[in-house]
């Protein structure tokens, strides 16, 4: 194999990947934009989604995310602080928690769906509801949130901790006034990575937050997430493809927005880390 053949093969491979990507993205934008409009975003779902819009579904999605964040932020932040500030780096319990989180991060989403159904919906009696779905997602996004926040907190130079201790600050106030503000961009980035994953999630939500496409009136109502809506439209509703593509475009724009935010925040954090050392 000559050098020229090798080089062409690599360029060809990259070309194939790019072609598939453009094909996929082109279809999504083309077919999605055809059906997308402001009234699609703001009107109720009619006729199982064939006509009407996705207002109730957007609201359900946001409520599910809000519940997930409300549960995951305090628990995750406290865990991350405990892992970095209150245990030694080689502490066996700390390692056990870290390993458990890493394994949890790899558990397939459908298994989270099974767990959420058995635990939140049935065992705790929350039923098919926005709360069940949100709490299930909270379990899913905790690992990535904790591990990113942990990395952010560990990146704060130990000089800051020593200086604060020398000034006689209590540990709680060091945490509140020095460590958390300094690590804030990393924590926010971890959070947004989690939110991005949660927004894309379908399998964990089908049996926890359910299918109902009406406007939710309480957190104990069932609410259909955007991803579940796309699934239902394309698999169970004949003639729902147009609305499915439009919903998919909305979902992707939402996720690109979130991921760009996460990326920008972690860039800012990386830039700030340099000034500490």
């Amino acid at each position: 194999m000559s050098e020229r053949v090798f080089t062409s093969a690599i360029w060809l491979g990259a070309g194939v990947v790019t072609a598939f990507f453009l094909w996929l993205l082109g279809d999504l934008v083309w077919q999605g934009a055809a059906h997308l409009s402001v009234s699609f975003l703001l009107s109720d779902t009619l006729d199982s989604g064939r006509s009407g819009g996705i207002a109730a579904i957007l609201l359900s999605t946001l409520l599910i995310l809000a519940v997930a964040l409300l549960a995951a932020i305090p628990l995750g932040l406290m865990s991350a602080v405990w892992l970095t500030e209150y245990t030694r780096r080689d502490n066996a319990w700390g390692d056990a928690v870290r390993m458990s989180l890493d394994v949890l991060a790899g558990v397939p989403s459908i298994v989270f769906g099974l767990f959420g159904n058995a635990f939140f919906s049935v065992y705790l009696g929350l039923g098919f509801s926005i709360v069940s779905g949100g709490l299930t997602l909270a379990c899913m996004i905790l690992p990535i949130f904790i591990r990113t926040s942990e990395a952010g907190l560990s990146a704060v130079s130990d000089d800051w901790r020593r200086n604060a201790a020398a000034l006689g600050m209590s540990r709680a106030s060091v945490l509140w006034h020095v460590l958390l503000p300094t690590a804030a961009p990393a924590i926010a980035a971890g959070l947004m990575l989690g939110v991005g994953r949660a927004t894309a999630e379908t399998a964990a939500l089908i049996f926890t937050s359910g299918y109902v496409d009406r406007m939710p009136t309480s957190l104990l109502d069932s609410g259909r997430a955007l991803a579940v809506h796309i699934y239902d439209l394309s698999m169970n509703v004949t003639g729902g493809d147009q609305a499915a593509y439009a919903s998919a475009l909305v979902l992707i724009i939402l996720i690109v927005f979130i991921n760009t935010g996460a990326w920008a925040l972690s860039e800012r954090w990386l830039a700030r880390k340099v000034t500490f050392s």
Partner: protein, 285 residues
Amino acid sequence: MNNFRVTDRWLAPALGVAAAGSGLILLLVLAFLLREAAPLWGSHAVLGFVLDASWYPLEGQFGMLPMVAASLAAALGALLLAAPLGIISAIFLNFLAPPAVARSYRMMVALLAGIPSVVFGLWGLTVLVPLIARWQPPGASLLAAMMILALMILPTVTLTSASAIAAVPQNLQQGAAALGLTRQGMILRVVLPAARGGITNGILLSGARALGETMAVLMVAGNVVQYPLGLLQPVRVLTANIALEMAYATDAHRAALFASGLLLTLVVMLLAWLAIRANRQVSYV
């Protein structure tokens, strides 16, 4: 200030409890899978997972092997497609692409990584499946599942391979150049062998992701319970089976679904463990 002093006293235990709580979620998940599958433990049904001919839940037959085989075939096929393309993409990013091209290629891969699985499924269902059907009906098939999964895991393979290659020490490459190796020789005989730990790690993690993927496969694979004997035949994978039947499953049927979820989790954990081991044995020849 004084408030914070009081806070100090209960802060450490409170944080410890929170961390323990987060650590215990995994055990809670496993415990509930075991608990819900409990009605089957000890009955003949456990043997039936392996011995029953196939999955006939209404007759109490829960043979999982056809679906296990389908899951493995789909994941393996996806890896066979995605691994070469991913490694080629990584070489492209690190050695061949001009900086501006590399930046946009990287952005494209990152964007691909962010696309939700249900959107891949939608595209597969409305574009890829009809295309295959025109050639060989019914279209919804093992092949479609492999291709969609390959697209989904390609970003992971690419990005992990690219960082493994970037981590190969510069002096190895300089040494290879000094010995008069061509760029091709250096990449194939020095860089890739030196980066194999990280590359294997990425491939195993992608395999775990492909095995655990539900929606995309469910939407394109046709979902007929049978052994995967041909690329163009419809198959049903374990994850899709759970998603399809949970809605109406009761008693033993529901328990069997939870048992299949447990099996899936254990296989994925095994793959993750292998991936960590592969990454640990990094030795620069």
